[in-house]
Amino acid sequence: MTGRAGAFAPLFFLVLLPGVAVAEGLDAGDTAWMLTSTALVLFMTLPGLALFYGGLVRSRNVLSVLMQCFTIACVATVVWVLFGYSLFATDGGGANALIGGLQKAFLAGVTADSVEGSIPETVFIMFQLTFAIITPALVVGGFAERMRFSAMVLFSVLWLILVYIPLAHWVWGGGWLAGLGFMDFAGGAVVHINAGVAALVAAMVMGNRKGFPQQPMPPHNLPTTVTGACMLWVGWFGFNAGSAIAADGAAGMAMLVTHIGAAAGSLAWMCQEWLKFGKPSVLGIVTGMVAGLGTITPASGFVGPGGALVIGLLAGFVCFWATQFIKRKLQIDDSLDVFPVHGVGGFLGILLTAIFASAGLGAFSGLGLAEDQTIFGQLGVQALGAGATIVWCGFLTFVILKIVGAMVGLRATPDEETEGLDITMHDESGYNL
């Protein structure tokens, strides 16, 4: 890494704010919160996201979704330890704008005493790893109910290495976007746009599920989905407030605006649904919550409560219509609506960050832009970063899918799809009630 302050975007901005000091040595309070945040973000994927997704598919595919999320967590861990963390966080020398180096491959030199900011480096490694886990796991929603398991494993590993890690390095690891002052506190581009675009590309490359859209495919277990959604909400405190990498006022404000974003997104989606369809639904309100959370994510270290309220409301509204558009109009079978919720939400959040970070909006002010930056200037940087994410992710996801398809075949046979992936891929069935 080129040095803490320059390398890690959130801190980069925080040090510009008066009164927020970054401790030099290890701080037990910060460490306590980051250990907790790490647990919370892992909890978002396992079981949070797994349940959220698992409840949405048909019962014959529930285990396949759980298995996919779980396996991704495992393989991402191994990749991270072997070289992923190093490529993400260390200085890549001449290529540093694009990717880190291999100095810390196999976590070389990392001891119990290594410190990163005010926390043990081991904790920093773990915290960042949980992001490398959830991002490919989010993509699962795009190709759910039809991808072969071996293809899924291969795809996820390659995607993590070729798409996620470089992007994370660009933004948080001292790469070119960090250098430009791109503001993405906890992963609007790195996590949400990225996962959303990958899911959309995967859905299009693989084709719709058999029967879509004529045949209805209602969620098999909504209480499970709601449970997962609630875990996501709670875990997101670790995701966003943990991205302050300290237990301080920045973390507190991030938690507050995250929570407001979730609530506002939920209510906006609920009202929109109530107006359009005559009834509000629990699937709607939790989807609005995810939209609100995904959208506030890049902004969560930069905006205030007023901005969070507006961001959340816009998220619920925009992602609602994006979902209708992709699924109903374009009839692209992004099975669990990853793109319209995470992709569109992340994009919206990246842009709105430039606005609501500004200190000059009265009750809607944020914590302030960089000293010499204007809203419009920042908007440009944000659009550039988001655009780069879309292009990099979109192109490489396509290429990876083609390669994996050629190697092991992407899609289950029609008979396997009819019988369900649980039996055909895993020799198990979810329920024997």
Partner: protein, 112 residues
């Protein structure tokens, strides 16, 4: 012997069972089924995807009765199951050739 098969609204089940007991029918077998008929199902909506549920939950009652109990039993079921609204269901009667109580080996009317 006759086999009565009645398809009714699930929440009338207890009433029907009591009505049958009153006319002397003390055994029956019940299955959860889905019915399709004149009664309109409801709509479910998941993120804007409409899903029309045509098949409505019904309870199917099967009761084997001696011939002389048939009319009373049918009437008892009909009265207890009636709400007057569409979807109340049907009663079908078929001929039963043999019946056997597994535990004792008793046959025919003795088996009921």
């Amino acid at each position: 012997m006759k086999l009565i098969t009645a398809i009714i609204k699930p929440f009338r089940l207890d009433d029907v069972r009591n009505a049958l007991a009153e006319v002397g029918v003390n055994g029956m077998t019940v299955t959860e089924v889905k019915g399709f008929g004149r009664q309109r199902g409801h709509t479910e909506l998941y993120r804007g995807a409409e899903y029309v549920v045509d098949f409505l939950p019904k309870a199917k009652i099967e009761a084997a009765v001696a011939d002389d109990l048939l009319d009373a039993a049918v009437e008892a079921i009909a009265n207890a199951a009636r709400t007057g609204k569409v979807g109340d269901g049907k009663i079908f009667v078929t001929q039963l050739e043999q019946a056997l109580r597994i535990r004792t080996g008793e046959t025919d009317e003795g088996a009921l």
